[in-house]
Each structure stands twice: as C-alpha cells, then as structure tokens.
C-alpha cells in the first residue's frame, strides 16, 4: 500500500510504502488471549482428571501461535519511506526504525519499471543512478507500482 504525504508547498515530499496487513495489534492480542483461555482451559481440565501431559503440549502450541502471529505482524510493520527533497531522493527502509538508507542526487536519479522476462514474475520498480539500483515497493501490486513510478517521475521532474 502507498501512503502519500504530499506537501502543496514544494519539497520535501514523503511517500510511505507498506505491505498490506489486515490485523491490528489489539485484534492479535485479543486472538491470543482467547486461544490462551481455551487451550490452557482444556489442558487444565484434563490435568485435573490426571492427564497432565496435555498441558505442556497446549503451552508449546500457544507459544508457536504467538510466535507466528508476531512474525506476521512484524513483517506487516515493514516500511519504505521515500523522501524527495530539493536536491536528493532518500530511501529508508526497515521495521520500527530505518535499517537501510540510500541516497541519490535528484538530478541524476532514474526510475526504472522493468517488466519480467519470465512469465509469472512480477515487475520490479527500481530507483538508482550511476549503476547503483535499489528496488522499492517489492510488495506492491503491478497497478500500484505503475502509479508510484509515474508519481515519482513527476516529483523528480
């Protein structure tokens, strides 16, 4: 998904790209809470009947569910922030904080939307100059990539 934070008064302009995530942290917490009550409840019930070995399996599985949800939520938290200032285009990406940074001179930057040579592959949108290329929005769909490419072209002038 593409969030535009355009400024009407010129530069800097910021574009935030993020993968789709349909679950909020609150919903995830609610889901884990519900499953914890059910799984630990069932395990405890059987433990009270003498079958206590169910409980460790319930606990292990609950941890696995929490890990899986956490991984997916974490991946959904990935952001690519493209900032276009008067003379530069800056790309920052990472989860929670910028883990990678790239900068190009705006005047030299080139936007490249490449169609795949193999059927079934997705197009790639890249920003770069002087032989150095950085792919952006790999998680966007083709339509979003095309719109973004055109918009970036306009902004870069």
């Amino acid at each position: 998904m593409v969030d535009w934070q355009k400024s009407n008064t010129g530069f800097p302009q910021t574009i935030v790209l993020r993968p789709n995530g349909s679950l909020t942290i609150g919903q995830a917490a609610g889901l884990i809470g519900l499953m914890a009550v059910l799984m630990i409840g069932i395990g405890t019930g059987f433990a009270l009947m003498g079958a206590w070995l169910v409980l460790p399996f319930s606990g292990a599985e609950l941890l696995l569910l929490i890990w899986a949800l956490g991984c997916s939520m974490r991946n959904s938290g990935y952001r690519e922030v493209i900032t276009i200032s008067d003379d530069k285009i800056k790309i920052e990406r990472g989860i929670s904080y910028p883990q990678q940074r790239y900068e190009f001179f705006r005047a030299w930057a080139r936007i490249q939307l490449s169609h795949p040579s193999v059927h079934g592959h997705l197009a790639r949108l890249q920003v770069g100059s002087h032989g150095k290329q950085v792919e952006i929005g790999a998680f966007l769909n083709e339509e979003e990539k095309q719109v973004l490419a055109k918009e970036l072209q306009k902004l870069l002038g």
Partner: protein
C-alpha cells in the same frame, strides 16, 4: 532529468528454481499446494491398497490371504494413512493453492514454515509404513490406539507414536499458517464476512486443529510413558484408567471428523453456486452454521463411548447434544438446495461430484442420527454399521468433496480443461462402486457382523462379496483419476481463460487471474464487492 524507464527485466532470482530442488526448497504457496495434493494422492493409493487387502480377505468367510494379526495391522494403517496422509493433506493442498488467491494475498503469511509443514509429512508417512516391517509388525489396535491393546505392539509402538507426533506437528503448523494468513493477509476490502466459504470453513478447521491436537499429542505420549517409563495413566493396576484414554482420544477424534469434513463443505459451497449460476444462498448463515458445528463438536465426544458404562445422565446429555448437530448441518444442506433452486444448473464433473457429495453425506448423516440414540447405539456399536456410516461421511463426504474441488480448480491450476468424458466416467464409476462397497455393510452390521475381524459367519457372505467387488471397482477407478490429472498437467486439453466456468468471476477473486495463475500473482483493478 529523471525518467521512467520501461524495460524488460533480466533478473531471475524470484522465479522457481530449476529441477527437483525447486520442490524441496520452494516457499511458493502454489508449489506447496501441488506437493500436498500429490502426496495425498500417493497416500490415497497406498491406503487404498491396504483397504483392498482387507476387502480381498473378507470376500468370503474363512482365512484366505493374511493372518488375523496382519489383518488388524491393515485396518489400523489404512485408517491412519487415509485420515492423516490422504484426506487432511489433500485439503491442506487446496488451502495452499486457493486461500491466498481467494483473499487477495500474495502468498501464505509464513512461507518457510509452510515448506516445513509439508516436508514433515513424507518422512512421517514413510516411518508409519516402515513399522510394518519391524519386529512384531505395525500397531494392530485400530486407529484409536486404545490401551491396553496398543501397548502389546512390538518394536513399532514408539515409532507409531513418533509418527503421530510428526503428523500432528505438520497439521498444527499448517493450521497456524492458515489462521495468520486469513487474519493478517486479507486484501483491503476483503472483510471477514466477504470471505468465500472455503476460507471460512478452513479457518474454523484450523482453530479446531490447534485446539485438539495437543490433547491427542498428550494422550499418545502418555501411552509411551505407560509402556516405557512405568507410569500408570491408563493402567488400572497402578491406579490409572483406560477409559481416560478414550475420553482424551475422542475429545480429539470427534472434532477431527469435522476437521476432515468442514473444508469439503467449503468446496461444495464454491461449486454449487457456480454451476447453478446463482449466489450461495445464505452465506452468513453458512458461516454461523460452520461455527456452531465446530462448537458442538467439542461437547459431544463421548457418543463414541456409549457402551463404556457411563452414568445414564451423561448418556442422555451426550445423546441430546449429538442430535443438536443435525440443526446447523441441516442449515447447510438447506442452503445448498436453496442455491440450486431455480438455478440454471449444468452438470459438469465438479457439479456431479458435488451432488454425489450431497446425496452420500446426507445418507451418512442420517445413520449418524441413528447412532446418536444411546439405546440404539448399543446394537450398532463396533458393528459394520459403524464402518458403513463413517465411510459414507468420509468417502461420500470428504473424498467426493475433494473430487469436486479437484475438477473445479484443476483447469485454473493447469490452464487446460481436463477430459470431461473421462471425468464423468470417473464420477459415475466412483459413485456406483462406492454404494456397492459400503451400502451392504449397513445390513451386515445391523445383522450383527462385528468390525475389525478377518473372518465372519457364513450368512454374511453375499453382502461381503458384493462389498469387495465394489471396493475393487472403486480402487481401480482412482487410477483413472490419476490419469485424468496427469493428462491435464501435461497440458493435453483445451486451453481455458482465467474465468474457466461461465460466470465464475462472481464467485471468487481467483477467477480474475489467468489460468494457470502467474507464479507470483498480483491483483489489479479488482473491486471486492459486498455480498448480497
């Protein structure tokens, strides 16, 4: 000056790997779906071969081909392989192929976990089959693995239990992946109530799986400790109780029945509207009915144990609770019928299989209601009537559901239409032989023939011979299924467009993609509509 260069890519790192390593290392949901379905078919043939050994032995009274101990090993492994190796992986294959495309996601939420959850299966299945060759043979206790009988298994016992753990682990990983995918990967606009029924039924199935699998894992681990570590969970001599195992097993085992059948409900809810050219009648009520069935499946387990000596109030409770399941199931059947009502129906192979499902599942459901009556169940218990009942549900329901889904989505997956004539031939042969196979078992069961025996009284001969003939026809017919699918995979057939079936685009996002869909699909310009 900046420009947008519209070029052709020369990078290849996102495509499928070449050769067999592609299938080992793949994290692509379509590849993994194909792996699951291929594995399921292989196990269907292996489990089917075991069924044919059983039916060959039962063709006439007396012992013909195998000794009673081996016969019991066959009944045990046939069931374990069909449930955990064939039917569940087949539905996991459908889930992998279809759920991301149905909810507008690029792939499953945890692709590497997905790869692992599949690749656990072949090793578990190989180990399970290998137990046949161990000292003392494979487990011969039936798929329920009841103590104390199962504790008499030879060297194979720990391996069987290890196998059950691995199979359970695979199911849990797949279930967690499906839950996370459906909750977190839905496309904007794809609200929960807009999701297709197939996704809903799989979501509910996934919850059932993760709630009951720890119980089964705990139960079989306690068998292991009773055998090797001197515990007495199920040993009365040490203060334990073998009936506790039955409660544990059926707390898992009854929801397991719904784990097997709910995804089939989802497939049928996709097929019937397409070939009736109408929207699914009562989508929301179908969702609620699925949830109610899932809830009820947790509170009825002891109807499998009516003869164990429960107090009468408990028998009454489990009897009435079990009868309640007929209500939400009836809602589903009513909605499928209402969907077809005044529809412009056509009868291509997927629809024939869906109708076959409907007829056979309802028959299996009716005998289920008979068995829910505790006093009557004292007659049916452990008889061939039970065998007939659950095969109507599991073969007539789950397997025909798989056939319907396979023929429905096969053109989407391969890009070519399967051989319709052979498809219809496969359906009719399967439908007729299935009834020849299992219908007579009702009668011998009611007349008193017990299950899990290699020999029987002579008055049951004719019905058993008929049943065995049906089994062999049904078995050979499944080789025809393999041939039909093989032809389609090789691209032999008429090329199809993305929609495949007339009006299919109204029934799901997947029909907006090309056939076959791109290795990495992406949805563009598609509006996700509110359901009517």
């Amino acid at each position: 000056m900046a420009t947008v260069a519209d070029t052709h890519d020369t990078h290849h790192e996102h495509g499928p790997a070449k050769g067999w390593l592609r299938w080992v290392t793949t994290t692509n949901h379509k590849d993994i779906g194909t792996l699951y379905l291929t594995f399921a078919f292989v196990m269907f043939i292996v489990g089917g071969a075991m069924a044919l050994i059983i039916r060959a032995e039962l063709f006439e009274p007396g012992l013909q081909f195998v000794d009673p101990h081996f016969f019991n090993q066959m009944t045990t492994l046939h069931a374990l392989i069909m449930v955990f190796g064939a039917v569940m992986p087949a539905f996991a294959g459908f889930a992998n192929w279809m759920i991301p495309m149905m909810i507008g996601a690029p792939d499953m939420a945890l692709p590497r976990l997905n790869n692992w959850s599949f690749w656990l299966l072949p090793f578990a299945a190989a180990l399970l089959v290998a137990t046949l060759f161990m000292e003392g043979g494979a487990a011969a206790s039936g798929w329920t693995l009841y103590p104390p009988l199962v504790l008499q298994t030879g060297d194979a016992l720990p391996f069987t239990i290890f196998t059950v753990h691995i199979l359970g682990m695979s199911s849990i990983l797949a279930a967690i992946n499906i839950i996370v995918t459906i909750f977190n990967m839905r496309a904007p606009g794809m609200t929960m109530m807009r999701m297709p029924m197939f996704c809903w039924t799989w979501l509910v199935t996934a919850f059932l799986l993760i709630l009951v699998m720890p119980v089964f894992a705990g139960a079989v681990t306690m068998l292991l400790t009773d055998k090797f570590f001197d515990t007495s969970f199920f040993n009365p001599a040490g203060g334990g109780d073998p009936v506790l195992y039955q409660h544990l097993f059926w707390f898992f085992g009854h929801p397991e029945v719904y784990i097997i059948i709910l995804p089939a409900f989802g497939i049928i809810s996709a097929v019937i509207p397409t070939f009736s050219r109408k929207k699914l009648f009562g989508h929301n009520s179908m969702v609620y009915a699925t949830c109610v069935i899932a809830f009820l499946s947790f509170i009825v387990w002891a109807h499998h144990q009516f003869t164990v000596g429960m107090p009468v109030p408990a028998e009454l409770y489990f009897m009435y609770a079990t009868m309640l399941i007929a209500v939400p199931t009836g809602v589903k059947v009513f909605n499928w019928l209402a969907t077809m009502w005044k529809g412009s129906m056509t009868f291509e192979t997927p629809m024939l299989n869906a109708l076959g499902f409907l007829v056979l599942f309802v028959l299996g459901g009716f005998t289920g209601i008979m068995m829910s009556q505790a006093p009557a169940d004292f007659q049916y218990h452990d008889s061939y009537f039970i065998v007939a009942h659950f095969h109507y549900v599991l073969v007539g329901g789950a397997v025909f559901g798989i056939f319907a889904g396979l023929f429905y989505w096969l053109p989407k997956w391969t890009g070519v239409m399967y051989d319709e004539k052979l498809g219809k031939l496969h359906f009719w042969l399967s439908f007729i032989s299935m009834n020849v196979l299992f219908m007579p078992q009702h009668f011998v069961g009611l007349a008193g023939m017990p299950r899990r025996i290699p020999d029987y009284a002579v008055q049951f001969t004719e019905f058993n011979a008929l049943s065995s003939v049906g089994a062999f026809i049904f078995g050979v017919t499944q080789l025809l299924l393999g041939y039909i699918v093989w032809k389609a995979i090789r691209g032999e057939g008429e090329k199809v467009d993305g929609e495949v079936w007339e009006g299919a685009k109204d029934h799901g996002l997947e029909w907006n993609l090309a056939s076959p869909p791109p290795y990495h699909h992406s949805f563009e310009g598609i509006e996700i509509k509110e359901r009517d």
